[in-house]
């Protein structure tokens, strides 16, 4: 049902007419996020400027039964911010103020539209940083990071967004405002804060976020190790961790991504490498020195033919540029690519990488691997050409790779989120009963099902009435299925 003129006017009165978008041309800007294969045009986009305005808009949605989707910079890779047709998008980018810097408490309070890297920029001069560092950190917003529980290369040691958010002001889907946590940790009662973070916009909208910032480590080293095979590099990852060393990050790139990154950025990666590890150690200087030497030994004993340490910050930045820019660099290698986000136990890395190689050959499509090896979070990039009709084959290969991850006890997604992209794959990881339990939590926050409907939990409309476990999905059982 299209929005009535009265409702449009009412939303305009809450956020100000300038901050409502209804022109079809302009609405199209918001019709997808970083997962561009899924598109839907919303009825209206509202850009509120405060918690009270978010609350005002959500109250209208609750009263009228209008589905809403919250959105930050739109860099998400799972379609979590895909609009709902006949719904509205609430864009939080106007709420981009840093509200408080309390370094005595090591906390920073921000609005959701603040870019991830801007938090670090605000405290860097005082020797602090904000730890979660998704590759899109220049533009992705803290609100989106909260929704997705974003990680990044350095979450191996420091943890994910959920480990660095101590408090949230949340507008619930009925328009009520709650304060979860604050500057102190461990409030009484069930961990609603922990459950909210990573809920992909389905439990409400965070409008103020209290973050923990960390003291810059005394020393940092970034090491590059080149191997003759991904197997050998995978073995080195396990050997480093088993030796009791906890690097800040261990990243792996295979030959295809090394070549792409080298062509795009010239970071000086060794020639002839089938696999590279980027190992960053930080902490107390003596410990970092010892561990750097140990990582050198371990890599060489696993067959590395070159191991070197970045001499200075400039070289470190260059080595990281090749890694963090690997996805866009891949765009030069192939007209289209599809990114997966599966996780495997890190001891299974060599086995799963071999399996991905086999699957790639079986499906006749190339796969580049660039990923967070330390925590087993793979990012296989399936290369294809949509113009040649390879889209379906690419999807099939990507599905097969996810299956290989789940076969060894892994996860569908390590940091990109389920969104719409992987909702239909959820039954591969969770039983009907598990999904029904998820639905209980969702319903406690959002009884009417208006907050980002159709995401995370599979729906018949999204996934079809496929034979198998979901012919009687919980959504159907509770009568919500037809709504979507």
């Amino acid at each position: 049902m299209p929005l009535s003129p009265a409702v449009r006017a009412e939303i305009g009165a809450v956020v100000g007419g300038r901050h409502v978008i209804t022109e079809p041309e302009q609405l199209r800007v918001y019709d997808c996020d970083g997962l561009t294969g899924w598109r839907a045009t919303p009825e209206l986009v509202a850009l509120p400027g405060s918690t009270a305005e978010v609350q005002g808009v959500v109250r209208i949605c609750a009263r009228e039964g209008i589905p809403f989707v919250a959105r930050g910079a739109g860099t998400g890779l799972s379609g979590g911010a895909l609009p709902v047709v006949e719904g509205i998008v609430i864009v939080l980018t106007r709420m981009n103020r840093i509200l408080e810097i309390d370094l005595a408490s090591q906390r920073v309070v921000v609005e959701p539209g603040v870019a991830n890297l801007d938090v670090t920029r605000a405290v860097a001069a005082d020797g602090f940083f904000y730890a979660p560092d998704p590759s899109s950190q220049q533009v992705c917003t803290i609100g989106g990071n909260v929704a997705e529980n974003s990680g990044g290369a350095h979450c191996l040691k420091n943890g994910f967004t959920v480990n660095h958010v101590t408090g949230l002001t949340v507008v619930l889907p009925d328009g009520e405002v709650v304060e979860l946590g604050g500057k102190a940790l461990d409030p009484d009662g069930p961990d609603l804060l922990g459950a909210f973070i990573g809920s992909e916009g389905t439990l409400g909208i965070a409008t103020e976020i209290t973050l923990r910032v960390l003291r810059r480590p005394e020393a940092v080293t970034t090491q590059l190790a080149a191997f003759g095979s991904t197997d050998a590099a995978g073995e080195a990852v396990s050997a480093i961790v088993s030796a009791g060393i906890m690097p800040a990050a261990i990243e792996m790139m295979d030959r295809l991504t090394i070549v792409a990154a080298e062509q795009a950025y010239h970071p000086g990666y060794p020639e002839g490498a089938e696999a590279l590890l980027l190992v960053e150690l930080d902490g107390i200087a003596v410990q970092v020195d010892q561990d750097t030497a140990a990582v050198d030994r371990i890599c060489r004993s696993c067959g590395a033919f070159e191991v070197r340490v970045a001499r200075d910050d400039a070289e470190r930045a260059l080595l990281w540029l090749g890694r963090k820019g690997a996805f866009p660099a891949m765009g030069r290698m192939s007209p289209d690519y599809y990114v997966q986000d599966g996780v495997v136990p890190r001891t299974k890395l060599p086995e799963v990488l071999r399996r991905i190689g086999e699957l790639s050959r079986e499906h006749g499509l190339q796969v580049g691997n660039v990923f967070h090896a330390g925590d087993g979070n793979l990012h296989p990039l399936v290369l294809y050409d949509a113009a040649k009709g390879e889209t379906e084959a690419a999807k099939a290969l990507a599905e097969a790779i996810l299956g290989a991850c789940l076969d060894v006890g892994g996860s569908l997604t390590g940091e990109h989120g389920v969104g719409v992209d992987k909702a239909c794959s959820m039954p591969k990881m969770f039983s009907e009963r598990d999904l029904e339990a998820f639905e209980r939590l969702r319903r406690a926050f959002d009884p009417e099902g208006i907050a980002n409907p159709g995401k995370v939990i599979p729906t018949p409309r999204l996934c079809g009435e496929v034979p198998g476990p979901y012919r009687q999905h919980p959504l159907e059982l509770i009568g919500l299925g037809e709504r979507f």
Binding site: P190, I284, D434
Partner: protein, 298 residues
Amino acid sequence: MASVSSLEQASAALRAASAEGRTVRIGTDLDAAGMSLVLEHEAGDLTCTVEAGIRLSALAAALAPSGQRLSLDPPGDPTVGACLAGNLSGPLRHRFGAPRDLVLGVTLVLADGTIVNAGGKVVKNVAGYDLGKLVCGSRGRLAFIGRVSLRLHPAPVAAATIVVETGDPASVAAELLASQLVPSALDVLHPGRVAVLFEGGAAAVAAQVRATRALVGGDEADHSVWEESRARQAAALGRTSLAPGALRGFLEGAPAAVVRPAAGIAYLSTAARDETPEPVRLLQERVRERFDPGGVLA
């Protein structure tokens, strides 16, 4: 008091209670004492999956041969399930977090007997809602915790404790927190002392001991101060929270306390009121009603 030794038994017990309209207090009427196995421990992954009735001491003994530990040290020797349900932590909370930071996945038995899984056993996973975190602090009101997958850490090669006797513990704590030192624990034993624990390689521990003494003074001490801290925590009558930067004002108003300043948690010798804001309490109640509509879990 009934101890169950399997998920199926817990499920049957709760199903029966639901059907008969009986209430069940988890930990009192129904406990997981018979579920105490380490189901999986892959050392190279630094993870394990255990039955929730295993005590921390038994888990520590099982992990020690691999040179690993669960970095959780609340007072006493509770079960892993009790740690989650009570969100229990000890001095190591400073660096390694609370149970909610260490739990990777859970198997729960809901009040109606349904057995559900959430999370996983890998260290990084954002598929589905994090019910493993949700049940942390739930005190048995949301579900029976049956199995838990946990993140582990390497056991430290060396450790050293420094105790600083001081009339101004707030300044000592602030100096340490603003430094680049990486303590595993930092407790203010108010009044009069700050205790700091360093762990890691021998050289790094020694370097940090020297740096600490140069920064705030103090002497190397045996580790008994941590037992004292945990004992005082266990004997505390109340717990409260404070912004870490508000430590000085807090100490001025409290006669005695054990404070973990980075986390902003204080254990008090006097009773503290529940600080949960009313809207949060109502939301907690909405969650509880969804998970236990029949009000079985008391």
